[in-house]
Symmetry: C6
Subunit: 305 residues, 6 copies
């Protein structure tokens, strides 16, 4: 474990932290511990608190917060509805992992983030769970379409992830009746995550057509589900988006209470790592923002959207 020389506060549950970051490489875990110690030092804490770990985890997994990034009011609003869309669909679908945080503070290349953490490390996913995950992914775009009647470039990361999941359902998990319980294409070194140079497409064009149809149907169905859920809960969507515009960040509990009609207490959050705010140019450099690609939720490996 990477925490030996750092005194931990009593409330820190290392196991819970490790469990909430399944899929992270060892280097990333070490990174989180280091960041937490740095934050604790900067905040003059004597021990590393749960809060320090939490912020460190976000920084490592989602990129540095960029509070100073100037967004237009329009962009802020779009972002709030986009994230609220993700969060609300996730809240409504039984198979979704519980949302842990929704924020419209830009991080890395994303204008907003909705994180969820599986309660327990799951090793196996049912078709139903994947379908609900897809609904959650499509929720952001659906909210924008519903409220502003507008499609934006911001959903590119969601669409990519959703397409990949749907493709895996069809070509690797045997979850399409039209294609049957077979696998298609070479998986060698994670073919469908795009790492390999030369691929071996080992099926016919006719099969490729079937795969395309099924992948599309799965994504469209998830999109329709998300649209339908948001349309039936527009009031909740507005409520959540407005809360985000007001408070910028809410955690899972707060979201739960808002959606159940409770009022949240006024916030007195400390600004956190806003001390290392970068001037816009530098930030632009650091993150290599590309105009057309921005807003493209890089959705950190397992937990963002």
């Amino acid at each position: 474990m990477h925490t030996r020389k750092i005194p931990l506060a009593e409330d820190v549950d290392l196991k819970a932290i490790a469990r909430s970051t399944p899929g992270l490489a060892g280097a990333d875990l070490a990174n989180i511990v280091n960041e937490a110690a740095l934050l604790a030092a900067r905040r003059n804490h004597k021990k590393v608190s749960d809060r320090d770990f939490d912020d460190a985890k976000d920084k490592v997994m989602l990129g540095t917060e960029r509070r100073s990034l100037v967004m237009t009011e329009e962009e802020r609003k779009t972002t709030a509805y986009h994230e609220a869309g993700h969060a609300l669909v996730g809240w409504l679908l039984p198979g979704s992992d519980p949302v842990t945080k929704v924020t419209i503070i830009p991080r890395g290349r994303a204008l907003g983030v909705t994180s969820f953490a599986p309660q327990e490390e799951r090793h196996n996913h049912s078709k139903r769970q994947l379908e609900d995950r897809l609904g959650f992914m499509m929720g952001g775009r659906a909210a924008e379409l519903l409220v502003f009647e507008m499609l934006t470039t911001g959903a590119v990361g969601d669409l990519e992830q959703a397409t990949n999941i749907a493709r895996n359902m069809v070509t690797r998990y045997g979850m399409s009746d039209k294609l049957g319980p077979l696998t298609f294409g070479k998986k060698e070194e994670m073919v469908f995550l795009g790492r390999e140079l030369a691929t071996h497409k080992d099926y016919s064009e006719q099969t490729a057509v079937l795969i395309d149809q099924e992948v599309r149907e799965i994504v469209e169905k998830a999109n329709d589900k998300a649209m339908e859920l948001l349309r039936a809960n527009t009031d909740k969507l507005h409520l959540l988006a407005n809360t985000l515009l007001e408070r910028e960040t809410i955690d899972g509990d707060e979201m739960d209470r808002v959606l159940r009609g409770e009022k949240l207490e006024p916030i007195t959050r400390d600004p956190g790592p806003s001390a290392d705010v970068m001037p816009p140019q530098a930030a632009a450099q650091a993150d290599e923002v590309q105009q057309l690609d921005a807003f493209g939720h890089p959705t950190p490996r397992p937990a963002g959207a």
Copy 2:
């Protein structure tokens, strides 16, 4: 032979061990012998026993046992039915090699393993044997579908292996009447196991369509067979799965007796290599678990499923 300097117990039948690991490279055999010696030392045995060899073989071929991996009760149950499905279909099909062990103790990246060992080293396989092997492969997924009415990502390894075997039947062994006694595609350096960089698809799209159809029909037929057998033997499936949930691991004899209606004596197994249990994070690192891919029976080269 790699055992010269290690005193062997009298019950060790080296020939039997070698025979039960056909297809293993020399380095793997040496590895097994070393692991067996280490285990014997750790267990304070004076001689390397058959049991030490057995555990060593499992470790090398299936990965380290991960007893401490926290599975949800639901996952444990799914795994038990999955493995029971493999084992039962194998038990029912005449052409299957006899099952030697069924376990729901996670190993490497697999949540459970069903091993079988060919009684004698076979050099030639009939179409019938391959079809029964395919039925065995599909048994896990079929059991999940039958009992939980649910498809999961866990069958990915089974589907991949089954697809490969069916493809070889059609394109290399001339076992499809629709394609005839010809071979298709370049085999150079095991083309169909995906090792080579550039492949030469030396047939037309029309032929590719035929191959896809035949491969699919073979896999679907095996899947239907497995479903049918399990449906006709649901009581045996429940019996076997429950035994697994109770005992975690059973060997071939025990399985035989359970399925024939006998009662097993209470277990007093020593925990074996559970001494080198890893904390979940470390295990996650070591095995590079990827959330979506877990449960993906890596099915060791010739003997697991």
Copy 3:
């Protein structure tokens, strides 16, 4: 920031400069500051003025001005109408970013340039904005066709950019109903900007046909829009083109006033960096002009057309 050792004039608004160059890499920004300082020195300014920064930015982003390049009168006229076409369509479309400069002084490999600068750094683009951007891109070719009833090789850069944007709308941003909210093709290292060696086309021919149809429809629609707008505003097109032929360069304010019917005051521009005019041969060498490709607006990364 790169300006510390250089005294700035009071009118210089560094933030505005940085904001007007979104998407530039750090090296480019440093380059602009250096060029501005050099220009200020050559012009015997004591401080670096806003004007110096402006010229420096153009040089870095659009290439060196090539005032001495001999164009035929016919080419000058074609260029004027081409740029006027871009600028006028941009002026007429609500979703376009405001034009900041239109010039028919050759720069780098372009015979003329129309720059626009987003008022604020945008991180997200709506479908509408992209459609208006496409209209702007097609404006140059449309003007040539309308006035001279002639297609030229000069629009090659515009067509390429427009095709890329339309392709991204269809394959990455989910903006085509026919293809749905999915992504198509591997994006790895900016696939659609053509940097990667080996690509993975992960969809069927049938889908490729749909993509081609949609990309074409989007570009054609933008082209029709541009034609229609210019046809309805031919008087404004002539006015703008003639102003360009007279003054060579106008900025956004001047364009605005011309198009609103105002008269511009006579110009007394200083010749700027025309001191480093190159002899035609040398220029030809330096820029590696290729006869057939000339006029091919290399349209600097985010701001030219």
Copy 4:
């Protein structure tokens, strides 16, 4: 010549040996001579006899004999009928080269071998000769199918060779009326033997379909011919297979006599190179046996099947 320092027995006809190994590279020839000398020494012969050369040739061309390889009785029987099928079809077809040896002693990766040697070095092959060669190739699989009504993986090598020959007939030798007297595909460095990395398929899909059809028809016709001949000569097939099961190896003369109804004298063969028998594991390592691929007649370059 490689035999200078080795005293030869009087019966050795070096020319005949060289003639019986057409297509062998110089290194292989040298290898045979060396092996013959070694065998002569081990057998305490004073001169290298014809028999030594013969065994040496087999070892170099077919791999080491593996007498100790444990085959099941079923596999031995399958192998005997497989080889008897090759040999009998070859004996019956006028265009076949005469069989020189049939054996069910495993060699290298093959469970059995049927060798033939062209009486004279042929430089040119007629369509008829190639068709008869194809019949000979299909004889093994046909016999298994006829006697056991079973297809096995063991014919993979035969199918591959037959497919290659048929493909060459169509694409290189102009022997298909449907494709005409043209060549198809690049031959550069033996394209159709699979050595090159990048291939140039220089014909259309329509042509590829025709090629596939013709190749298949040629192989199927040869298969039908083999089936038909064996069906009409089942008694001879049983006779030959039983002789093999009894004697393990017979030469061309013996086969001839058996098939003509003569009785063979009892054998008193010396065990030959069985001294360097390997234990099964080591053999498995040395030959990298892969369970599914075994029995895959590697058919040595020009003379085995």
Copy 5:
């Protein structure tokens, strides 16, 4: 400039020379200057004359003259009509650049050359100009067909260039109504000039069919135009070809006068660089003539045909 140390004759107009060689790299320009100085020295000129520059330019751009190459009388005649065909079609089409020289003295691998020089450096080309350029390219083959009713291998270079131009019109310049104002295929490093290793064909087969049809229609139309013009001006074609057979080389003015019916004065040309005539074998070596490819106008980069 590369001429500083070389005294120039008064008649030398360096700007005109540079202008007549657009698209040449700096190294080529330096080469021309060096060759001119060498020629001047060999000819015992005290200053480098315009004539020296002219010959030097031809040598660098078209290859060494090969006066000694033995052509059959038939080949000489074919060549004369081929070049006359180019020149006459160019003379008749308004959009063509003026012809500057027509010659049937072999140069490099070409048996004859027709050069043209754009009066001014053009940066933009209209569709009409490209169509006339295509007519000019097809003129040589058309003349051969018209006069000798014979197609020869000599037009290969013309056909290649014409195909490339037509393809660019369709895929890069948006000049085909059937394909619309889009670009097709990756241009990266001059894709259509064949320099890159791996290409990205980013469109469907259906689009590929359309492109093929349009490219063909454009080339065929140009071919028809050339045939038609030559058929209507057969007398001029004979006149020009005969003048070439008589004088071997004529410049643009001479051609103009001949075609307008004037008589040319008898020639007293100095043999020029014929001093370095090579014996046929050496020439064959130097130029790596390949029998089937000869006559294949390598048409120097921008100016030959």
Copy 6:
């Protein structure tokens, strides 16, 4: 020139030699001169005679004579008719280059050779000449088919060359009306001779189908022509083949006389370079004969068949 230090006999016409070897690289020419000098020395000539040059040229261009290669009488006869077929069709077709030698003495990998030498170096080939060349190429196979009603593998080299020429006629020389005056496919470094690694097929499948059809029609037409000519001149074919079987080698004049009905004087040829006859095995090694490919006329670059 490579002959300076070697005294030449008076009858040697160096120009004629050079002219008869168009397309040879300089290294090959030097090689011929060296071989001629060696032969002259071995034959105890004081000067290098025309005969020495002739034999040297054959050795360099066609490979070493292999008089000792043992052919069956059947193969000798097949070869004689094959070469007689080439020679007779060439003699009958007006566009063919005159045959200079016909031989059934094996050379390199060929069992026989028919050489022709263009009277003058040709730089341009008409469609008619290429068609006659194709007829000549098909003559060998046609003769075998006509006389023996048998197709053999020996024509593989002829078919390959014919296919290449026909393909070039269609895709490079614009000689097919169905494809028009365009080029197809990238030529870069002799694409159609198969030297390059990665090729760019720049046309659609539809075009590929047309190309295949045309190439086939051209080759089939040439084949029909050859069949027809031989059928109408069977007596001449027998005469020529029998002369070859008797004399092994005849030159162009002898062939001419035989075909015109004259009787040849009895031969007293000196055995030439038969001194360096190789034993069959060594020859097999040296030439890497491959059983199936033998007889595959390697047809030396420009002059054999």
